[in-house]
């Protein structure tokens, strides 16, 4: 179990994490969703004991990561964002080393190495130096080194960045399987679809703050079944905003000279009214994009910007 209690991390005047709180239970995959620079990795750093929070507390299965660092880290498995492995060693040698850092010994270590190699599909290439591996294989080995010691809590920091779709599916299956064994998984990502398909609960983070948290259903409810409508073209933002006030239940999330982002219920049915209102103020609509309620539309609704910005 992870308990994050109002942690704050500052670097001089810069607030990287601002009083973030959440808990994640055994067997649960808890997602931290946010754009790059939102504070996800800093949060992971505080949880793993790499960074000392400026304020607040983190407990891993009841152990405070600052005061009982070693005990807390014994329960943790960390899969960092970068491939944190020795390139010149083989998969087997890497697993032996990282298992050894967790205090594992033979025969358990040997048994676990066989298990994780089979699990990640790397058994056939176990003795090759990993510099000969593809990106996806390295990602899987990176994951394998994080779970070699069967941690109670697993921290995954954007583990699918730069991975081909096939490897991504395989990695996500591995994460689900790990949670299925009762491991508490904290998963950070800026990929909306990953968070939607993988996580039971989520916290959406931006600029170091949790701007929304809950189950997928709870978060979607915040959108009140509103669709997200993106209109591209040529606009005068103020005039467009004024014109759209005539359309019921519409909310302008973003307006600039080339893009309007709107939130409204039953958008497809109300498109003619929107086009008419905009045409009346001289706007020229060249493209439309309609999105059903999703985490991405929620993020845009809450922050006024795209998740991948």
């Amino acid at each position: 179990m992870i308990e994050v209690d109002r942690i704050r991390k500052t670097y001089g005047d810069i607030v990287a994490v601002n009083e973030i709180s959440f808990t994640a239970q055994p067997g649960e995959i808890f997602g931290l969703l946010g754009p790059n620079g939102a504070g996800k990795t800093t949060t992971i750093g505080c949880i793993s004991g790499l960074l000392t929070p400026t304020a607040g507390h983190v407990r891993i299965m009841g152990h405070d990561v600052v005061r009982e660092g070693t005990a807390a880290r014994r329960l943790l498995g960390v899969v960092p964002q970068e491939i944190s492995l020795y390139d010149d060693l083989s998969a087997l040698e890497n697993l032996k080393y990282w298992g050894g850092t967790q205090g594992m010994r033979n025969p358990l270590l040997r048994q676990r190495i066989d298990e994780v190699l089979a699990l990640t599909g790397l058994a056939d290439r176990a003795r090759e130096p990993i510099k000969q591996f593809s990106g996806g294989m390295r990602r899987r080995l990176n994951f394998a080194c994080g779970i070699i010691h069967q941690p109670k809590v697993l921290l995954l920091d954007e583990p699918t960045v730069g991975v081909d779709p096939q490897s991504r599916v395989r990695l996500l299956d591995l994460v689900r399987a790990q949670a299925g064994t009762g491991t508490c998984v904290l998963y950070t990502t800026h990929y909306m679809e990953e968070a939607e398909t993988l996580c039971q609960r989520l916290a959406i983070v931006d600029h170091g703050n949790v701007i929304a948290a809950g189950t997928l259903t709870e978060l979607r409810a915040l959108l009140a079944e509103h669709d997200l409508l993106r209109l591209s073209g040529v606009f005068r933002p103020d005039a467009a905003k004024a014109a759209l006030q005539s359309v019921d239940h519409i909310e302008v999330l973003q307006a600039d000279e080339s893009l309007l982002v709107l939130s409204l219920p039953e958008a497809s049915r109300r498109l003619p009214a929107i086009f008419s209102a905009l045409a009346a103020v001289g706007a020229e609509v060249r493209g439309t994009n309609l999105t059903q309620p999703s985490l991405e539309s929620l993020f845009i609704k809450l922050t006024g910007k795209e998740l991948r910005e």
Partner: protein, 370 residues
């Protein structure tokens, strides 16, 4: 201890997969020994050195006595360094200098009152030409003083011929004079390149992963230090055996010499590790390491042997960690180790290494790893 074995196995695995760096480390002293022996063979060193002089008379007569050394060509070949009796003896016994001239109290009085008098000259047996020139110059000076007394009509001063002492030490070849310096220079470069490896660990994220594991930074660093010490031991063994066989460098106690090089190499590694983890970027770390290594090598007798350096520079150079360690190493080669002095040197270098170790462990834990 368990992690030490795990870490050593990992480091040895990395060496096996990519042996080039280890081979270079072993190869540098070997190549130096071969080149030195090819270039200089086993012939004696070229004439240039230092005369240690203790003037206990401290009179006009004693001052005039050294005039011969202030004229060309001796002026450019011999640097005179004033010392006192005991340190002078100790230094010449260690082979530090071409000769040591002791002018006991009473020279001027003997000259004026026609009393018997004796100068003492201690020569370095590892050098041939310079001690001979110094001896000849002193003999001429003594003879000239005798003629002066005859011309002035007073009785001839009976200044006895200079008493020359020479310790029974084997002569050293030019290569043997240079090799300890070269060996220590390669130790410095090896320390610097080994230390920069911490940046590789940081860049590839393995340091961060270690920091998030139950392994303490002290354990991690200690394991690294042990591995580096093993590398130094191998380098020392290869280098010293090559120096013995190829360049006729005397190594009376090989295990002690290997142990010393291993110890000081590890201290150098910690020093460079300290320097390397200070800056915020790898580039800045490399620049800082280079800015440190060259003055250290120059001053500390690693580019040029102390025997070739001006006195003031030798005084400064002996205070650098490598200069200090090199001086002790030369006493080992000369089989003239002062145990008390060696104990002090070991304690100082060990303390220096310990401070660097603590700093580096703290620095890695508090930000460098992240």
């Amino acid at each position: 201890m368990r992690f030490l074995a795990v870490s050593l196995r990992k480091d040895w695995g990395r060496v096996r997969r990519d042996p080039s760096q280890f081979a270079i480390a072993l190869g540098i002293p070997l190549v130096l020994a071969v080149l030195m022996s090819l270039v200089f063979g086993r012939t004696p060193a070229a004439p240039h050195g230092r005369l240690l002089m203790a003037d206990e008379d401290n009179t006009i007569a004693s001052a005039r006595f050294l005039d011969g050394f202030h004229r060309d060509p001796l002026r450019t070949m011999i640097t005179i360094e004033k010392v006192t009796r005991e340190p002078g003896r100790a230094r010449i016994d260690r082979g530090d200098g071409s000769a040591f001239l002791l002018i006991p109290k009473g020279l001027q009085k003997a000259f004026l009152m026609n009393l018997p008098y004796q100068l003492e000259l201690y020569t370095n047996p590892s050098e041939r030409i310079l001690p001979q020139m110094i001896r000849e110059t002193l003999s001429i000076t003594v003879e000239a003083a005798g003629h002066f007394r005859r011309a002035s009509g007073t009785p001839l001063i009976e200044v006895e011929n200079v008493a020359v002492h020479e310790a029974a030490k084997p002569a050293r070849s030019f290569a043997a004079v240079f090799l300890p310096s070269m060996l220590f220079m390669s130790l410095l470069f090896l320390a610097s390149s080994s230390a920069v490896d911490i940046w590789k660990e940081r860049t590839q994220g393995t340091l961060r992963r270690i920091a998030a594991s139950p392994v303490s930074m002290v354990s991690y660093l200690a394991a690294r230090v042990v591995f580096v010490a093993l590398v130094y031991a191998a380098v020392a063994l290869v280098g010293l055996v090559a120096a013995q066989r190829l360049a006729a460098m005397p190594v009376p106690n090989l295990p002690a010499a290997v142990l010393w090089i291993t110890f000081v190499g590890t201290v150098f590694y910690l020093l460079f590790l300290w320097i390397t983890v200070l800056p915020a970027t790898q580039r800045a770390a490399s620049v800082l390491a280079n800015l440190t290594i060259f003055p250290l090598a120059m001053l500390g007798g690693c580019f040029f042997p102390f025997e070739w350096m001006p006195g003031w520079m030798v005084s400064v150079g002996r205070l650098t960690p490598n200069g200090w360690a090199l001086s002790e190493f030369k006493t080992m080669l000369d089989n003239s180790v002062d145990v008390a002095h060696l104990a002090v040197s070991t304690a100082v270098l060990a303390a220096f290494g310990a401070v660097a170790f603590v700093f580096v462990a703290r620095r890695i834990r508090r930000g460098f790893a992240v």
